[in-house]
């Protein structure tokens, strides 16, 4: 089981994402933004950071990098793709996911441990969670406010495509407390908080983030 982790210029969390993949028992394969070759991976993670310095809009330039053409094509064929934080922004800019991430409503960069509730455990990235399971993982972003029009929001809700929601006070102004969503098929998931920073109580608030990585391993092995 090979899980690709993409590095764009300005990506920060590729090492942690690769570490989380390896910890889950899968093999992390480092992918470079300038390559079109996905190196025969079974799934891809777009990690967090500030790809291309967030110039223009977060994720806007990365979307046109050579590797993204391959990711968009593979996602269309059903390959599981997880975008975390900046990766979520790239997936929205790529139109693999609907909506957009905008500036936090209070304009502050947030960095804290955040409780979220898993609201869809049918995606390949969330199968090891139980429905409505609450976990605590870090949230750190400046542009994490999920926005979309009413029609898209209703569609996401009706089709059960909200994958995770913030618990408690809305941290960033996201509509319906949305912390993560999936595409129609369910193979592409975007998540604003960071499971890869919560795989070991020594370095993270919990080890509950590991579930996203063991989920993908389980889904692919089945």
């Amino acid at each position: 089981m090979r899980v690709g982790v993409i590095t764009f210029p300005g990506t920060l969390d590729d090492r942690d994402a690769a570490r989380a993949v390896n910890r889950s028992g899968a093999q992390a394969v480092l992918l470079w933004h300038g390559d079109t070759d996905l190196k025969k991976v079974d799934a891809v993670i777009l990690p967090g950071g500030f790809s291309y310095g967030d110039y223009l809009r977060a994720g806007a330039i990365s979307r046109f990098s050579p590797v993204m053409n391959s990711v968009i094509e593979a996602a269309g064929e059903g390959m599981p793709v997880l975008g975390i934080c900046n990766g979520f922004q790239v997936l929205c800019e790529s139109h693999l996911l609907p909506g957009a991430l905008t500036r936090n409503s209070d304009l502050h960069f947030l960095c804290r441990d955040q409780e979220i509730e898993i609201t869809n455990n049918m995606t390949p990235w969330t199968t090891t969670f139980s429905l409505k399971e609450r976990i605590v993982i870090p949230l750190k972003n400046g542009e994490g406010s999920f926005q979309c029009d009413d029609k898209t929001l209703a569609q996401l809700e009706d089709e059960g495509r909200v994958v995770a929601r913030y618990v408690g006070e809305n941290p960033n102004g996201s509509r319906n407390l949305i912390a993560g969503i999936s595409n129609e098929r369910g193979n592409v998931v975007g998540l604003m908080p960071h499971p890869e920073h919560a795989i070991d109580p020594l370095t993270g608030p919990t080890a509950q983030g590991l579930g996203f990585f063991t989920s993908i391993l389980n889904s692919m092995v089945k």
Binding site: A60, C92, E93, A100, T102, R103, S105, D106, L107, G173
Partner: protein, 81 residues
């Protein structure tokens, strides 16, 4: 030299926290004029000579694909001398 200018603004229904912050800073400095403020982006694209219809069409396309995000933003393209 002529410029093709693209102005990108958040759609009215999208919250603009930066604009709101500016709006609340203005009265603190004695500028009592603003009912509200929206903040946007301006791109100036220089071309040789007078912009042709095809150049303007290219910029229109670029505005739609790259310079704006149609999910949350609108744009206008115009020529400035």
């Amino acid at each position: 030299m002529a410029k093709i200018v693209v102005e990108v603004m958040l759609k009215p229904e999208i919250l603009d926290p930066q604009g709101n912050a500016v709006a609340s800073a203005l009265p603190r400095l004695g500028f009592s004029v603003a009912k509200s403020v929206r903040q946007g982006k301006r791109f100036e694209i220089e071309v040789e000579g007078e912009p042709t219809a095809s150049q303007i069409a290219q910029v229109e396309k670029a505005a739609e694909v790259l310079l704006s995000n149609p999910v949350i933003e609108t744009y206008v393209v115009r020529v400035e001398k």
